[in-house]
């Protein structure tokens, strides 16, 4: 290398487009532009910029509810946003384009550097520059020892410092080099980034993630196949055959409520006690499923991610038959007090379909405003101390006739009529467990039998996650090497002067971009000290012996 200060990156600069170019020349120029450091830099910054919208606008994958709310609030912008993929930024064409270009740039940059590195590994340390004293880190001293003796010692001293040392016969200088691991780390880091991407891609192509809401009890068990999920998203190459045939049920659910301290009123220590079988016919095992403690079955993980109340409500129709019975999921509208909202539909009720809609209060209380007047009812506490459901009634078509998939959490009121009292106010019933209210007009009755709990269980299988993890860990190791290993060269030149003494010049060149003058100074000083120490040792054999002992 002619210029000792050049760095590998200097060769990879973007250049202006030359005027006369044939197709091959143009292709080569384009490739050079794409793989230049400057382009990589711009692409990195673009990637950062392109990530921002995904944190500003709701994302379909993250929170589809927020997306639909956003659509409702911005009816004119939503179609434009859809066209720009702003609700699915991280899967969008333009976001993918940036990171794919970045990867191409990375590969195009790394592959030539692999060859350069392979050559550099075999290459000998470069010869000493003519004027060592002109290098920023250099020093010199004179000695009585012969130049050959000094250089001989220099090879030993420097080799002991784990440099690769080169002293050609007849040369007046020793050349040494170390720190190739920096570039190795650099290459490793960039290759590992590709491994991470592959791992992540495997996960999103072949993996799946689904959720199910489960009640306590054997009869509400879950077995792992597509039909059992409430929501499910599989990768585009997902094959249902990989789903492991496990099954489980929740035997009990515990939660601890804090009744004192600054966090009073919040819940902690959620535990869902599971009975599970890894495959049909296998032995039943138990597991306490908690937040942060998923259950792993084969390559699939089972998580507890939420819980709530499910009042057991029985609806009898006008003819006295049970039209609807069982626990109904009420979704918390207040995460602190677990005031929840839910819907009960009795499609088979006679003479007319019945729909119930209303709130559930785990600890019912009437709210009070600042003057002490009663206001809206509410829940004082998340624990079910005084549970109460407050329901309003709808009759007519409650949306189950046409067979279209209606949400179980929403009552379609477009073709239903609200049941009113004689004074024209909506009919409302407040039920505590065990209570029954008879509906007017012979419509039937509603009973609040008791309280169940539901758990939201998330099940996911992410193949490739260990590949991605190994990739990131490797990348980190490579990064450490590329940041903290210092590639450097050392030269020692010894020349006989006119007066018979020997002038020894020592110089050091730090080739890392974050050169460290203190370390450089120390290393140079250490080398010179070692050289001089050996020289003294030579002059006085007993001294040398002492030194050996000191060192051991």
């Amino acid at each position: 290398m002619t210029d000792p200060l050049s760095r590998p990156s200097d060769a990879r600069q973007a250049t202006a487009l030359p005027i006369d170019l044939d197709a091959r020349g143009l292709a080569r120029w384009t490739w050079r532009q794409l793989t230049s450091m400057r382009t990589a830099l711009v692409l990195l910054l673009l990637l950062a910029l392109a990530s921002i919208p995904g944190s500003v606008f709701p994302q379909e994958d993250v929170d589809s509810l927020a997306v639909s709310q956003w659509r409702d609030n911005h009816p004119r912008l939503a179609p434009i946003w859809d066209r720009l993929d702003l609700f699915a930024v991280y899967g969008s064409v333009w976001f993918s384009a940036i990171y794919i270009l970045l990867m191409i740039s990375l590969v195009g940059c790394i592959i030539p550097r692999l060859f350069v590195y392979a050559r550099a590994l075999r290459a000998r340390p470069p010869r000493a520059p003519r004027h060592l004293s002109r290098l920023p880190e250099s020093t010199s001293y004179t000695t009585a020892a012969a130049p050959e003796v000094v250089l001989e010692r220099a090879t030993t001293v420097i080799r002991r410092r784990r440099f690769r040392v080169e002293w050609e016969d007849g040369s007046d200088a020793v050349a040494a080099e170390r720190g190739h691991l920096r570039e190795a780390g650099n290459l490793l880091f960039h290759l590992a980034v590709i491994v991470v991407l592959v791992g992540v891609a495997i996960g999103s192509l072949f993996g799946y993630k689904g959720g199910v809401i489960m009640f306590n009890g054997e009869e509400y068990g879950f077995s792992n196949n597509l039909t059992q999920y409430d929501d499910f998203a599989g990768g585009s190459l997902f094959d249902p055959a990989v789903m492991e045939p496990f099954s489980f049920s929740i035997t009990d659910f515990d939660v601890e409520w804090l009744t004192e301290g600054p966090q009073a009123g919040t819940a902690r220590k959620f535990v869902a006690h599971l009975d599970y079988e890894t495959e049909p016919g296998a032995e039943t095992q138990e597991y306490d499923l908690r937040v942060n403690h998923p259950l792993s079955i084969g390559g699939t993980d089972v998580f507890l991610i939420g819980h709530g109340y499910a009042p057991v409500i029985t609806v009898r129709d006008g003819e006295g038959n049970v039209a609807q019975s069982g626990p109904t999921v009420f979704l918390p509208t207040n995460p602190q007090t677990f005031e929840s909202f839910g819907v009960v539909k009795a499609a088979d009720a006679q003479p007319t379909q019945l729909g119930l809609e209303g709130s559930f209060y785990p600890t019912f209380s009437m709210g009070r405003d600042s003057r002490g007047n009663l206001t809206m009812p509410g829940s004082a506490f998340g624990n079910a101390i005084d549970p109460l459901v407050s329901l309003q009634v709808y009759t007519g078509d409650v949306g189950l006739d046409d067979g279209s998939s209606a949400s179980v959490y929403v009552l379609d009121k477009s073709r239903a009529t609200q049941l009113l009292k004689e004074d024209g106010q909506p009919f409302r019933m407040d039920l505590r467990p065990g209570e029954t209210v008879t509906l007017p007009d012979g419509l039937g009755s509603v009973t609040f039998e008791g309280l169940q709990r539901w758990n939201k269980i998330q099940i996911s299988r992410t193949p490739g996650k260990l590949i991605a993890l190994a990739g990131v860990v490797t990348a980190l190791l490579g990064l450490l090497g590329s940041l903290f290993v210092r590639p450097r060269r050392l030269w020692v030149r010894a020349r006989r002067q006119d007066d018979g003494s020997t002038l020894v010049e020592v110089a050091r060149l730090d080739r890392s971009s974050g050169g460290d003058p203190e370390t450089g100074r120390d290393e140079l000083a250490d080398v010179v000290a070692a050289l001089q120490q050996d020289r003294q040792g030579e002059q006085d054999p007993s001294d040398q012996k002492d030194q050996r002992e000191d060192m051991s």
Partner: protein, 350 residues
């Protein structure tokens, strides 16, 4: 000691740290005021590079012996007080952790994170000032820490509370400690980058900027701070974070706003490291990139906590703590509105 006493001790220690830092700032002010009108003489360091004499070397270039003595004493006093302040700061952190029941690491909310982050800034400064001759950085570090601590106590203070379920994991220790350390290092790097940009524009021969080390040296110090912070950030955000996210939320990367911004910060600092090796980007542009990185870092900490309602990392208020478990419900459960099976491409990972 009972928990309430630990909590009181923590609060008192924060106050003590604040007072001592303020005294340190006064000492530094005395030192720099004395050097105000003394022109800087360029010295040549052993590495051949010119170095400006910092206040630590005051004796070398200040002709008046009395001034030299005064600046040196004031500088040493400043450093000593900074060290004492850091000790009080540490006591505040430890007591904060002891005050919780059960005892825990003191970084469960924004107040505690800021308390820990500013401690890292001071500790890193104290650890490197001797070797890298950073005494000139003292007044800035102390002033910055003082202001941030003040804001922390005034606006972010929260009484000690137990951790929420989702935070009860040893990954909290690993993930957040990495984030705190990296934040401290990046903050110091941002300070030196600002000083670099200011000095690059300044032509004055006296005063603070003139006494800073040469531009190349400032650039190097700033690089070292970032080179230390970047791997730690990588570990915190891209290794321990996803592992924990996988355990707590069933998916190692959720494109949660906090994650997005942590990723943006990572990308910007990666760009900074590349820029230092790219012709036309070294120096000024790299320093600007470092500041952009710091801006994304602090926006992530402040902005996302206060303005984002969707982030599962919203620990801004006491009430926010429970959110991480329960609000999560609102999403997936409502998503289940379409009862039945939806098999489609999962965009989340790609």
């Amino acid at each position: 000691m009972i928990d309430a006493q630990w909590e009181t001790l923590s609060n008192q220690a924060v106050a003590a740290a604040g007072v001592v830092y303020f005294l340190a700032l006064l000492a530094y002010a005395v030192q720099w005021a004395a050097l105000r009108d003394v022109p800087v003489r360029q010295l040549v360091g052993t590495d051949g590079e010119p170095v400006a004499a910092g206040p630590g070397d005051a004796a070398a270039d200040v002709p008046d012996e009395e001034v030299a003595h005064r600046t040196e004493t004031a500088g040493r006093l400043g450093l000593l007080l900074t060290g004492i302040g850091a000790l009080a700061h540490l006591v505040a952190l430890v007591a904060r952790g002891m005050a919780a029941d059960p005892n825990r690491v003191p970084w469960g909310n924004m107040y505690e994170f800021t308390l820990a982050g500013t401690f890292v800034v001071v500790a890193l400064f104290l650890a490197t000032t001797g070797r890298w001759r950073l005494s000139w950085l003292g007044p800035i570090v102390v002033g910055f820490t003082l202001c941030v601590l003040l804001a922390d106590v005034l606006w972010l203070y929260e009484p000690v509370a137990p951790l929420t379920e989702a935070l009860e994991s040893y990954w909290l220790v690993i993930h957040v400690v990495a984030a705190v350390i990296a934040t401290g290092a990046f903050t110091l790097g941002a300070i030196t980058s600002i000083l670099y940009l200011l000095k690059a524009r300044s032509t004055r021969q006296t005063g603070y900027l003139a006494r800073l080390p040469e531009l190349a040296s400032l650039d190097r110090i700033s690089y070292r701070m970032h080179a230390f912070g970047f791997p730690v950030w990588t570990f915190g955000v891209l290794i321990s974070g996803p592992i924990w996210a996988h355990q707590a939320w069933s998916s190692y990367w959720n494109w949660d706003p906090k994650e997005v911004w942590a990723f943006i910060t990572w990308v910007v600092y990666a760009a900074y490291l590349h820029a230092r090796a790219t012709a036309g980007w070294r120096g000024r542009n790299a320093a600007i990139l470092a500041l952009v990185g710091a801006a994304t870092l602090w926006f992530n900490f402040i902005g996302i906590n206060f303005f984002s309602t969707t982030s599962q990392h919203s620990y801004a208020e006491g009430a926010g703590t429970e959110r991480s478990v329960v609000l999560r419900l609102a999403g997936p459960v409502e998503a289940a509105e379409e009862v039945g099976v939806v098999v489609g491409p999962d965009h989340a990972g790609t």
